[in-house]
């Protein structure tokens, strides 16, 4: 599924009050099957853009459509991994039940449901933790439950908001590799938000660097033409890393003058 974002601008409206423009003039086409990474300084509007694609909010200006159809509300075609660790999981359901939640709503018959649930759980290496409740999990495990819950639904578009932010470097790298192999296996379009440059290069086919807010837009786009898994000592990796660091520093310094 192709996501097309045309001169999108957005301002939050909370109880009648409108915020300043958070995003403005965002133009971006994400072709079917691409792994795209959104990178940018904290507070620039990465989560906001993801929410627009998910259909949680609608653009104030411009057009956002998927396969030619304007996005108005959330749908099964777009899965979401929320940035917040706790608020999106159902704390009265076990890990297994959380993963089954969407399948039940979708009316998937029991046998299928259990198979798809276990498949998703094993992809994120949580098969042995199915009987636990969310409050018995570590932060990283919670994010993996969110990922499994999304994978089980097999959405055409996977939206992920810093799912590995609360992990140590080693686990994070392992999960990045796992993420790529899952995506290679099941296909689909992925939009992945991070503020970690290395993570962006490890994952993305294309990296979009957003400018600092308010009224953030796209500063630059980088194509990553390196094969997976990415070799961090490859000179091209290092050049790209330095390039992005320089560009991002420019944006961050605007916020912190």
């Amino acid at each position: 599924m192709t996501i097309s974002i045309e001169s999108v601008g957005f301002a939050y409206t909370t109880s009648g009050r409108t915020s300043p423009m958070i995003l403005s003039d965002v133009d971006l086409t994400i072709p079917e099957g691409e792994f795209l990474v959104l990178l940018g300084p904290s507070g620039c509007g990465k989560s906001t853009l993801l929410r627009l694609i998910a259909g949680f909010d609608n653009p104030t200006n411009g057009q956002l459509s998927i396969d030619g159809r304007t996005v108005e509300k959330p749908g099964k075609d777009r899965g979401m991994v929320f940035q917040d660790l706790d608020s999106a999981l159902f704390e009265w359901l076990t890990v297994s039940e959380n993963v089954e939640f969407g399948l039940k709503i979708d009316g998937v018959p029991k046998e299928d449901r259990i198979r798809r649930r276990d498949e998703a759980l094993s992809m994120v290496n949580l098969l042995n933790h199915g009987q636990k409740f969310p409050d018995e999990l570590s932060g990283g495990m919670k994010q993996r439950v969110q990922i499994a819950r999304m994978l089980a639904m097999r959405p055409g578009i996977m939206l992920m908001d810093e799912p590995f932010a609360s992990l140590d470097a080693q686990t994070r790298q392992r999960l990045q590799n796992q993420m790529i192999s899952i995506w290679t296996e099941i296909g689909g379009t992925a939009v992945y938000v991070t503020h970690d440059i290395r993570e962006a290069i490890n994952l993305g086919q294309r990296i979009i660097l957003m400018s600092a807010g308010p009224a953030a837009g796209i500063k630059r786009s980088y194509d990553v033409e390196l094969e997976y898994p990415r070799n961090q000592s490859d000179p091209r990796y290092i050049t790209l890393l330095e390039q992005i660091s320089k560009d991002i520093e420019e944006e961050v310094s605007k916020v912190w003058q």
């Binding site: 608020s87 999106a88 709503i105 979708d106």
Partner: protein, 271 residues
Amino acid sequence: MAVIDQPNQTKPHALIGLLSRSNFISIVSIALGLLVWEVCARLFIDPFFLPPVSVIFLGAVELFQQDLLLTHIGVSLMRILGGWLLGSLVAIPLGLLVGSFLTAKRVIDPYIHFLRFIPAIALVTLFIVWFGVGELSKILLVMYATAFIVMVNTATGVGTVHQNKRLAARTFGASTWQIFWRVTVPSAMPSIYVGMRLALASSFLVIVAVEMLAAESGLGYLIWTSKLYFKIDWMFVGIFLLGFLGLLTDYAWKMFGKHVIGRFVRTAANY
């Protein structure tokens, strides 16, 4: 869930656990307290004001032999639990409604916030005029006292359900109705549970007041009439029983929270 939380694991050892471990200190503390009371009451205090524990115990035995003890307990408990359950039965759906729909909130809210500040005790006489001196007026008063607490807690619980949970459900294709039953109601359970616990305590408050003013039975009646007959030990029996029954019903509610609806009130039943 941890192994020790499973009821079938703890049951065989429950009684031993009750006596041996963490409760041991509490039991010693209670025993000491009673002993100090007994000694002080015998040595320093006019028994008319504070009879020794042993005298109160004999008073209870006397009441029991006259078939009054269990009657008073049973009658009060029936009124408290009946009114509390019926009141919650009305209040929970209303709270869910008020919490979920803005229009319902605007219609019902003014009444709730006006009425909930009028204590049930102020309405005793009125309810007796309206509904008679029988059980109906008493149950209704307990319902009244219970309902507002449970309703406000339920609506608050609904209001604090995190938006991300509803959004997540929507990415799974859930309808408004499915979100209500599968996300909103379970998320509000801890608030409902706590609300009912608080309401249980105020049910005790109300029923005693009602029974003192207009009843022929119940613990409130016992306390009130004992004064008239100068049976100070009977009065203490009534007072004791209130505390004891409160403790017991509260404990039962806690166990219900832990073992029956445990997954919904994971931490709310801890204290």
